[in-house]
């Protein structure tokens, strides 16, 4: 009986220890930094400098808003693009299932940087692609795609698509087909069966995918750096610049904490809205 009680702790042990040692502790140091003041030259002192937080938030509010907007749009686009694809792989692919799944992840094995650089080439002003987009009117007043919000959002969407596809696929795949058959036996049409049975059952996957996409997208800076210009800078670019170029570690640290807090707030609200059982694994209560 006692052994049974201890099992979860053995399972948790390695993971939690790793995370505490290599995530929580460094965060503590970041926390200290965010409340310090001074510069590299004069030395940093711990002065409970809460103004770091308010100052940096007001100085960089544009970039915060921009990051959340870009990430939000990219996430929505990812969802729209990914869901039908995940559905097709889970239900229509049959023998080709794993191959297709693989085709989804495969681009990941060429580096993030290279993929984004490839988009730089594809979307460069002189390319045929941009000419077509311009003809349709999608290239904006500058008649270019790069260095505009659109390309950064497109880059974010593209790069985070697998993060959306995989969880949705995983959760669609284990839906018991008999439930769908039962719905059809009960006279529902194919689309009703989808909306009433499949979609709700795939909710955990959708929730996971959305979070896995939105959160890193909000803090991203590579896409903005390679595909955008100063007008598209995201909060990730600001933090990186503050840390590396300006060496204003307290401000950088405080911005990081604000970003984390905002994201967590969004996540909490989202989970409340989407149904916490799906994510928090309340299942264990039943078992």
């Amino acid at each position: 009986m006692i052994r049974r009680r201890l099992i979860p702790y053995f399972l948790l042990g390695p993971g939690l220890i790793w995370l505490i040692l290599f995530f929580v502790v460094p965060m503590y140091y970041m926390g200290r930094l965010s409340l310090e003041s001074g510069s590299l030259l004069t030395g940093f002192e711990f002065t409970w400098e809460w103004s770091n937080f308010s100052d940096s938030l007001s100085a960089y509010d544009t970039q915060f808003v921009r990051s959340f907007v870009y990430a939000g749009i990219a996430t929505l686009l990812c969802l729209v693009i990914a869901y039908p694809l995940a559905y097709a792989i889970a239900f229509r692919a049959g023998r080709w299932k794993y191959l297709l799944l693989f085709a989804v992840i495969a681009p990941f094995f060429t580096t993030y940087l290279i993929r984004t650089i490839a988009w730089q080439t594809i979307l460069s002003d002189q390319s045929a692609v941009v000419d077509v987009l311009d003809a349709i009117g999608l290239a904006g007043s500058n008649h270019r795609v790069l260095d505009e919000p659109g390309s950064v959002i497109a880059g974010l969407t593209y790069n985070f698509l697998p993060f959306m596809i995989l969880p949705i696929y995983a959760s669609l795949e284990r839906i018991d087909q008999r439930l769908i058959e039962a719905a059809k036996d009960l006279y529902s049409s194919a689309s009703q069966a989808f909306w009433r049975v499949t979609l709700p059952l795939s909710a955990p996957g959708v929730v996971a995918g959305t979070l896995l996409t939105f959160i890193p997208a909000a803090g991203d800076y590579v896409n903005a750096e390679l595909l955008g210009a100063q007008g598209q800078a995201m909060i990730g670019n600001v933090i990186q610049g503050l840390y590396l170029n300006v060496r204003d570690y307290p401000t950088a640290a405080s911005l990081s904490f604000i970003l984390m807090a905002l994201i967590l707030a969004a996540v909490v609200v989202y989970i409340r809205f989407a149904g916490s059982e799906a994510l928090m694994g309340e299942e264990a209560e039943r078992a």
Binding site: L12, M27, L99, T110, Y112, P162, L166, I239
Partner: protein, 289 residues
């Protein structure tokens, strides 16, 4: 028309996958480029030269090998740890469950710049490992765990426990049940998580940049090269990496099909096998000696 409606989703899937592969096609195409100077931005001419000399840029090849080793190792560890964590979180009621959940989600909500810089500061104050492969390994496992947990967890939720209960009813111990029922059923989720962890590791740039010391991973090499001209060999290696992984996957699937076909061929034999099994087991000390 009806054909279109029915197959619309398949056509869509095809288009979506093509979209995902477009940059890969561009990368592969430019691996055949023959630029005059250092920069591989405009098409100058076709050549196989860089393919013949694919591993010629020493620093690049070293970086690639290192990235693969790092990814393989960190994936194994992260997937194992993460799966255990997911099981604990979904299946057990225990002390500190909410905070544990929280702790796992937070790394994903943290900007990579912060994780990277924070880790570095800590490694310097507690230098129990050297900056380099070991610190990269630690960092990569760390950020992968959360993703593995989320993927495996979404597979675990709603998992049909009755199959496990059936196994228990038939007398299997918890460990055997786990090994023969739970794990295989969980496998797609674990594999998906593992693939994700591997890809994340190979791809990682920001966190690696801070914690690599003098070690250069593939993405770090490229970022540096971006400033001075990315050699064509980078495209070549990236294409090779892609092709190898595709080939590995095709091979695995082919093997799987073969196994299925083999199993399908001898149904009658299986029935006979059951009573005869004890005799088939090799006598102790039968081999070698």
């Amino acid at each position: 028309m009806k054909w279109l409606r029915h197959n619309a989703i398949n056509i869509y899937a095809g288009v979506a996958i093509a979209y995902m592969l477009i940059p890969i096609a561009v990368i592969a195409a430019f691996s055949f480029n023959d630029p005059e100077g250092r920069y591989n931005y405009t098409w100058s001419g076709f050549t196989l030269e860089h393919w013949e000399n694919a591993f010629g840029v020493e620093e690049l090849t070293d970086a690639m090998v290192l990235s693969i080793e790092l990814a393989a190792l960190s994936t194994l560890v992260a997937t194992a740890i993460g799966t255990l964590l997911a099981m604990a979180l979904v299946r057990y009621e225990f002390f500190g469950r909410r905070p544990a959940n929280f702790l796992i989600v937070i790394p994903m909500a943290t900007p990579e710049v912060v994780i990277g810089a924070g880790l570095l500061s800590m490694f310097l104050i507690y230098p129990f490992v050297d900056l380099g492969f070991q610190t990269l390994f630690i960092a990569h496992v760390m950020f992968s765990i959360s993703f593995v947990v989320v993927v495996v967890r979404s597979r675990l939720i709603g998992f049909d426990r009755s199959l496990e209960e059936a196994a228990r009813d038939l007398g299997a111990s918890p460990l055997t049940t786990f090994r023969t029922v739970t794990l295989p059923l969980l496998a797609p989720g674990i594999i998906a998580a593992g693939l994700l962890a591997f890809a994340l590791s190979i791809d990682d740039f920001v966190i690696s940049n801070f914690n690599s010391g003098t070690t250069v991973t593939f993405p770090l090499y490229i970022y540096g090269a971006l400033q001075r001209g990315v050699p064509v060999e980078v495209n070549v290696l990236a294409t090779i990496l892609f092709a190898v992984t595709v080939a590995a996957m095709v091979f695995t699937i082919w093997q799987q099909r073969r196994a299925e076909r083999m199993a399908a061929v001898r149904p009658e034999e299986e029935v006979e096998m059951l009573p005869a099994t004890p005799a088939v087991r090799p006598a102790p000390g039968g081999f070698g000696g």
